[in-house]
């Protein structure tokens, strides 16, 4: 079986090289049959990668420990479900997933657009072939999941902290996001190489970008929820390089999704859009490099593996390729129209873009800072949470405000008077909300107060837009179904507002107390009275679990269990099991960590009361709904775009 997997990967590499080389020859010489051959090689590359993936999945489920990868990441006690998650639980398997998703996405995107955009697709194929060549080469030559050995009696198993339902969904979501950004990048590069730099490549890839962006966003929120409920440190985002690796391409893609509308409508920002799409893709590969090179210090243990230098080389080469391509085609990227006023829809989109990119580069600077200080000063220095929090506020709060103003500003040129008239209700709502918040004591945190006031403003603008639109369209359903992209966008904006309220509420207004209790003693935190009743010990063949029983009185009354579990094997790995009680009415969590069980019966408890934190998870659901609305096929919009882009095709 391993031979089949190795052979399938070797075939994938050969086909990817064929798609790259023959694709270039075909596109340059405009030989249609050769171009079809290169395209078919890309499709076949997906097929052979699928065979390789099936071989690995089968070996994982069958516990075939003659595969080194299977023995390293599973054992006989691991259920089939978790054995399958081990596919992306290790380096080699996750790289195979990268290649599988890339060739699968590429096949679909090329197949769908092969007739509509024949000239452009002829160049997209070699670009995708080039990316696939890199990953197939790494899998064949450096990190093969099909290395074999004499099968041991049992495998080493999957780290207990990864034996979690989130493991089944969080990494694949991120991969679908990371790899999905290769599609708009390939079409952008195809447009530049073919000289077809009109808006058609944007239309062809809009949904691909949106889908990749949505997967990346959902993947990050799932990771945050996993950290919150399972890791047990009370937080959900630590500005760790690994987390930032997913955030950076998401921010660049967010900027692109906004600026693309300006190019579609006004023919502006062509260079900017090329830069953004390249930036998003390069950052997604850079993120993969970060998690595999060990060059930065992270709370995740990553190896200093030789694979890192290959990824770095790929990032450098593909970045140089993108820059050279954009510079070469600058004359073709001239704007059709110009920005007429600093107070216009176009201008607000530009401000939004600048803030998003500034935030993205700020995060990148924070990630690179230790490497740069090592290079310049000979000493690694890190900048921590205060740096990121400062810039999140500096750029995030104006972004929040712009999210409310932008959709109400007229295209081309708006007058301050008409804009103020439109914003009268939202401003009034924000002022009233701010006054109420100060009255109830929310003024204790200025950033929190500003975030809440801005959030009220944005929600009011969304409501104003919906009311105005519904009046004109006759019904809300008709309004949304006629312009899914726009109103899907509003739903996503509402999700971002919920996210902002959740982040501000849970960080600016949280209460934390740590106290040592013996059975019978009580501690009080933010109106909750917690009485420690004693500890129970549960031993199973695989683990020893100790739990503290706590009776709670206050806004919620009941019993909570919190403790830790120590696994046999895995060097006695211990995981926390936190006690969480959610009050959905107030979106508040009572979060209890039993930190330290003492032989004398005492336990150190850390109790957090985190108001509004559950709005973050609700925001995730709303984000999915908004993304689906915007992604849903819309024939009417497609016709509008075709009509608008008709001169460009001529």
């Amino acid at each position: 079986m391993a031979d089949l997997g190795r052979a399938a990967l070797a075939v994938s590499l050969g086909l990817a090289v064929y798609a790259l080389v023959v694709g270039i020859v075909a596109a340059r010489s405009n030989r249609r049959r050769l171009a079809v051959s290169a395209r078919n090689a890309l499709f076949a590359c997906f097929g052979s990668t699928l065979v390789a993936a099936a071989v690995l999945a089968s070996a994982l489920v069958r516990h075939d420990f003659s595969f080194v990868y299977v023995a390293q990441h599973t054992n006989r006690t691991l259920s089939a479900r978790y054995a399958l998650t081990a596919f992306w639980g290790g380096q080699e398997g996750s790289l195979l997933l990268w290649l599988l998703v890339l060739t699968g996405y590429g096949t679909l995107a090329v197949a769908v657009n092969r007739r509509l955009l024949r000239d452009l697709v002829a160049w997209v194929v070699p670009v995708l072939g080039g990316i696939a060549t890199f990953f197939a080469f790494v899998l064949v030559a450096i990190a093969s999941p099909f290395d074999t050995q004499t099968a041991p009696v049992d495998g080493l198993g999957l780290t207990p902290s990864l034996q979690n339902p989130y493991m089944a969904i969080h990494p694949p979501m991120l991969y679908l996001g990371y790899v999905g950004l290769a599609i708009p990048f390939s079409f952008a590069a195809g447009a530049l190489l073919s000289g077809k730099t009109d808006e058609r490549w944007l239309v062809a890839t809009r949904r691909w970008t949106l889908a990749a962006w949505a997967f990346l966003g959902v993947g990050q929120l799932l990771g945050a929820h996993w950290a919150y409920v399972e890791v047990g440190w009370g937080g959900y985002y630590a500005w760790d390089p690994v987390e930032n690796a997913a955030l950076m391409p998401w921010l660049a893609a967010t900027a692109f999704l906004h600026s693309v509308m300006i190019q579609e409508r006004k023919g502006m920002l062509k260079v900017w859009n090329m830069v953004l799409v390249a930036l998003a893709f390069e950052l997604s590969v850079f993120g993969t490099f970060l998690t595999r090179s060990g060059v930065v210090n992270s709370i995740h243990s990553f190896a200093k593996s030789p694979i890192g230098s290959w990824f770095l080389a790929f990032v450098v080469i593909s970045t140089l390729f993108s820059v050279a391509l954009i510079l070469w085609r600058l004359p073709l990227l001239k704007a059709r129209t110009k920005l007429e006023s600093a107070l216009s829809r176009e201008a607000t989109f530009l401000y939004n873009n600048l803030l998003l990119v500034a935030l993205c580069l700020t995060v990148l600077w924070g990630v690179l800072f230790p490497i740069l200080t090592q290079l310049v000063q000979g000493e690694t220095r890190t900048i921590g949470r205060p740096y990121y929090d400062f810039f999140l506020r500096a750029f995030g709060l104006p972004l929040l405000l712009l999210m409310g103003i932008g959709p109400l500003v007229a295209w081309r040129k708006a007058s301050a008077r008409s804009l103020l008239k439109l914003l009268a209700w939202p401003i009034a709502t924000a002022v009233v909300a701010g006054a109420i918040l100060v009255a109830v004591g929310a003024g204790s945190s200025k950033p929190g107060l500003i975030a809440y006031t801005f959030s009220a403003f944005v929600l009011a603008t969304i409501v104003v837009e919906l009311v105005r639109g519904t009046r004109a369209a006759g019904s809300l359903f008709r309004l949304v179904s006629r312009n899914r992209r726009r109103y899907g966008g509003y739903v996503v904006h509402a999700a971002v507002v919920l996210l902002a309220i959740g982040i501000a509420g849970s960080s600016a207004y949280q209460t934390t107390t740590e106290q040592r209790l013996v059975p019978g003693q009580t501690m009080t935190v933010a109106g909750y009275h917690l009485t420690y009743r004693g500890a129970t010990h549960i031993d199973t063949p695989n683990a020893q679990r100790v739990q503290a029983l706590i009776d709670v009185r206050g806004p919620w009354s009941g019993r909570l269990r919190t403790g830790s579990v120590t696994y046999t094997g895995f060097a006695g790995e211990t995981d926390r099991e936190v006690g969480i009680k959610t009050d959905w009415l107030r979106a508040e969590d009572l979060y209890v960590i039993a930190d330290d069980f003492r032989p004398d019966g005492a336990v150190y408890f850390k109790v957090l009361v985190r108001p509004l934190i559950n709005l973050i998870w609700l925001a995730g659901l709303l984000f999915v709904v908004g993304s689906l609305v915007a992604l849903w096929p819309d024939a009417r919009e497609q016709r509008r775009l075709v009509t608008r882009l008709a001169p460009a095709r001529a």
């Binding site: 390293q72 995740h300 190896a303 593996s305 920005l339 000493e379 690694t380 220095r381 890190t382 995981d575």
Partner: protein
């Protein structure tokens, strides 16, 4: 009089870039406190606040909540028994549950008399792309 046809886009971008740079400078000049991130073998000659990345060396004694603190050693990750061990006295919240001998940790604190007076411990998550394990 001829009207300028230049787009204000460039001006906006230039002002935005200047603004961002100004904020950066302001932050790094006023509030940007970076901390040296060191390994135990690279601590010699350093004073003040540090972050030290290493592997925990036993025995682990004491209590992080007491005045005497929790005491343990750390040495460079992946180094042999010959590499230097730096002593840590940590006071504060209980250390993370994964904290144990041989675990990889990041200790934040201050160097006092050749020891680290720790105020924070982060235990590295046993994550996906770890070095090849041995049977």
């Amino acid at each position: 009089m001829a009207r300028s046809t230049r787009s204000p886009a460039r001006l906006i971008v230039a002002l935005a870039v200047a603004g961002v740079l100004a904020v950066f400078l302001l932050y790094t000049a006023v509030a940007g406190n970076s901390t040296p991130s060191l390994t135990p073998s690279g601590l010699a000659g350093h004073v003040g606040k540090v972050q030290v990345v290493g592997a925990v060396v036993g025995p682990i004694r004491g209590d992080s909540h007491s005045a005497a603190g929790l005491r343990f050693g750390i040495r460079d990750i992946g180094s042999g028994a010959k590499s230097p061990v730096v002593q840590v006295v940590y006071r504060g919240d209980s250390p993370p549950p994964l904290f144990a001998v041989t675990r990889h940790v990041v200790v934040s604190g201050t160097i006092v008399g050749g020891r680290i007076a720790g105020t924070g411990i982060v235990t590295k998550c046993p994550s996906k792309y770890v070095p090849t394990k041995k049977y």
